[in-house]
């Protein structure tokens, strides 16, 4: 049964993509309201997010979100977890705004007409009723981000996973979205390489090469991470090829 | 499930986009374009069933009036033209191309997909397209087949391209060529 208080529990989970081990024997229990996961490109943080979202299953170990297995139990996952992809163009599946918004609701069991009505009501409450019939290609990058967030919020999941949610956006859009995130009642798990965007979290986890490098309050983890990033940046580490 | 559906939808989109690439050399009312290459590729890469479904989705879009057939035609506007047999033969061509690619396992993939594209995208497609075109043009089969000889060089190039592209896709995205998975 879904137990919202139990949070996200990962036990000895390993993920191998192709023949590259991405996560190795990872164990985590996340119950805080605001969680940040820091790491460089290729550290395994996006894989961790996909694991929690149930988009992939671990080769070994288990993943539970509020007590259910997000990979096997998709119905429970729809109510339990939402994920905002880094690139909105990878998330949008439909030609028009209202279809995009209605899709998740219909998947949760609403009829298509109810789902469309809810989508339109949500747009109206955000002063964006005129977006409903617009082709998604007519939206700007920031607007598409916003559309994806609305699509996730409409499904009212208890936990929302955010993949580099502010990357590539202009500053006013960043400020608007950050404000929006801060006001959400849900549990938020943010993954990023940018320590500035997890400064307000209750807990920050630094992931390096698929393992936890540090775990604790941002005041402790962020300085460690920043110092290490500065040290690596001073060397010529980029010349090495992975594998 | 999600992956199959996404592949079917994306190959339907790919076949549509290939129709926009400009190239209109015409033979008796039938243009030569990359579109039929897209049909062969769908079969060779996705396999018989999914390849044919991708083409059926493409035809569904044409039936809804979208001008996606190369040259800007939709399904309705080719209904009474010599081209209709080729268009309705596309799903069968994709199916046979995929079926052959799946079965010619003794050959390297590039070669198998190329041979399969000749079988599905040429032999089978001509078998459907030529009689229909003959009927529409009020010609004998032999006369129409003689006219279709003009397609041979273009279609051979497309079949070879199908083999080469399928082989390259298999190298660049291992596991993606589902006709061999």
């Amino acid at each position: 049964m879904a137990d919202p208080s139990s949070g996200i529990e990962i036990a000895a989970a390993s993920v191998v993509l192709g023949d590259r081990p991405v996560l190795t024997g990872l164990s985590l229990r996340l119950t805080e309201r605001r969680i940040g996961i820091l790491g460089r490109n290729g550290s395994g943080k996006t894989t961790l997010l996909r694991l929690i979202a149930g988009l992939i299953a671990p080769q070994t170990g288990t993943v539970r979100v509020d007590g259910f297995d997000p990979f096997a139990d998709r119905r429970a996952a729809l109510a339990g977890i939402g994920i905002l992809f880094q690139n909105p163009d990878h998330q949008i599946l439909f030609p028009t705004v209202e279809e995009e918004l209605a899709f998740g609701l219909a998947q949760q069991g609403l009829s298509q007409s109810e789902a469309l009505a809810r989508a339109n009501a949500a747009l109206a409450s955000e002063a964006r009723a005129h977006w409903a019939k617009a082709p998604v290609t007519s939206l700007s990058q920031g607007q598409r981000h916003y559309l994806c967030l609305m699509a996730v919020l409409l499904m009212a999941p208890r936990t929302i996973l955010l993949d580099e949610p502010l990357a590539g956006l202009d500053l006013p859009t960043q400020a608007r979205l950050a404000r929006r995130f801060a006001a959400l009642p849900q549990r938020l798990v943010t993954i990023t390489h940018d320590p500035a965007s997890v400064g307000d979290c209750d807990r920050v986890i630094w992931l390096d090469a698929g393992r936890i490098a540090a775990d604790g309050p941002p005041s402790r983890v962020i300085p460690l991470y920043t110092a290490e990033m500065a040290r690596i940046g001073a060397t010529d580490a980029d010349a090495d090829l992975a594998g | 499930m999600e992956r199959s559906l996404a592949h079917i939808a994306l190959f339907a989109a790919l076949i549509s986009v290939l129709g926009f690439l400009p190239r209109i050399d015409m033979v008796a009312g039938v243009p030569i374009t990359f579109q039929s290459f897209g049909v062969m590729l769908a079969g060779a890469v996705l396999g018989a069933r999914k390849g044919a479904l991708a083409v059926l989705v493409f035809i569904g879009l044409l039936a809804l009036g979208l001008p996606l057939l190369s040259g800007g035609a939709n399904l309705w506007s080719v209904l009474y033209t010599p081209r209709i047999g080729y268009v309705l033969g596309f799903p069968v061509a994709a199916y046979v191309t995929g079926w052959l690619t799946q079965r010619l396992t003794a050959l390297p993939l590039t070669f198998a997909a190329g041979v399969a594209a000749v079988g599905g995208g040429m032999i089978v497609l001509y078998t459907i397209g030529i009689p229909v075109a003959a009927y529409m043009n009020d010609l004998t089969l032999a006369e129409t087949a003689a006219g279709a000889v003009a397609f041979l060089p273009g279609d051979m190039i497309k079949a070879i391209a199908t083999g080469l592209v399928t082989g390259q896709l298999a190298r660049m995205r291992p596991g993606v060529v589902q006709s061999r998975a």
Binding site: F103 | E2, A6, L10
Partner: protein
């Protein structure tokens, strides 16, 4: 190109999408029943009249839309002239132009999502025979969503090619474009999984 729908509301906009789809199919059948060029020309003229409520601009634009088909007209017309069967050629050309004009009229006055919904409701009775109507509708909508994405990708690729080469890209775009389609499919599959419970 895929969103032709005119913003101006006309009487034709209010006809249901299902009726228009059925109308197109019906017209297709009717045109097949007659091979009389005079009758076909009359239907074609009638179609032009149907464009008039869309306003003079749109009605005047019809010939330009039909002009798109000139290569087909030329080949079919030329062919039949050479064979000495101009009447048969005229029949083929009139049917083609009429059907093209009618389908364009449908797109001009109907939103594509409404057409798609009508299409699925027409298929709905076949659901009992095992036809997965919802998945078909989903695949059609996704294909429409990704056509402009892949078109953009093709022109980006052509641009990237031009930036570094004096020769034309042409067939060299085929592999990267197919890769783009496969990668988009992977992303779409994840996005689909993230918000659906397809089994």
């Amino acid at each position: 190109m895929l969103t032709l729908t005119l913003p101006v509301e006309t009487a034709l906009h209010r006809v249901s999408a299902a009726a228009k789809l059925a109308g197109i199919a019906g017209l297709g059948v009717i045109l097949g029943l007659t091979a009389d060029p005079v009758l076909l020309a009359a239907v074609f003229a009638g179609l032009w009249l149907a464009y008039l409520p869309l306003g003079p601009v749109e009605a005047a634009r019809l010939p330009r839309r039909l002009w798109l088909l000139w290569p087909f007209v030329l080949v079919i017309g030329g062919w039949h002239l050479v064979r000495g069967t101009p009447e048969a050629g005229l029949v083929v050309i009139l049917r083609m132009l009429t059907m093209f004009g009618a389908a364009t009229l449908m797109l001009l006055t109907t939103r594509f999502d409404a057409l798609l919904a009508a299409f699925s409701s027409l298929l709905r009775p076949l659901e009992r025979l095992g036809l997965p109507v919802n998945r078909i509708a989903l695949a059609l909508a996704m294909a429409v969503r990704f056509i402009p994405v892949l078109t953009q990708r093709a022109s980006d690729l052509a641009e990237a090619w031009r930036a570094r080469s004096a020769r034309k890209a042409r067939h060299r775009l085929l592999v990267p474009l197919a890769i783009a389609a496969l990668d988009e499919a992977d992303h779409a599959a994840e996005a689909l999984r993230a918000r659906s419970a397809l089994v």
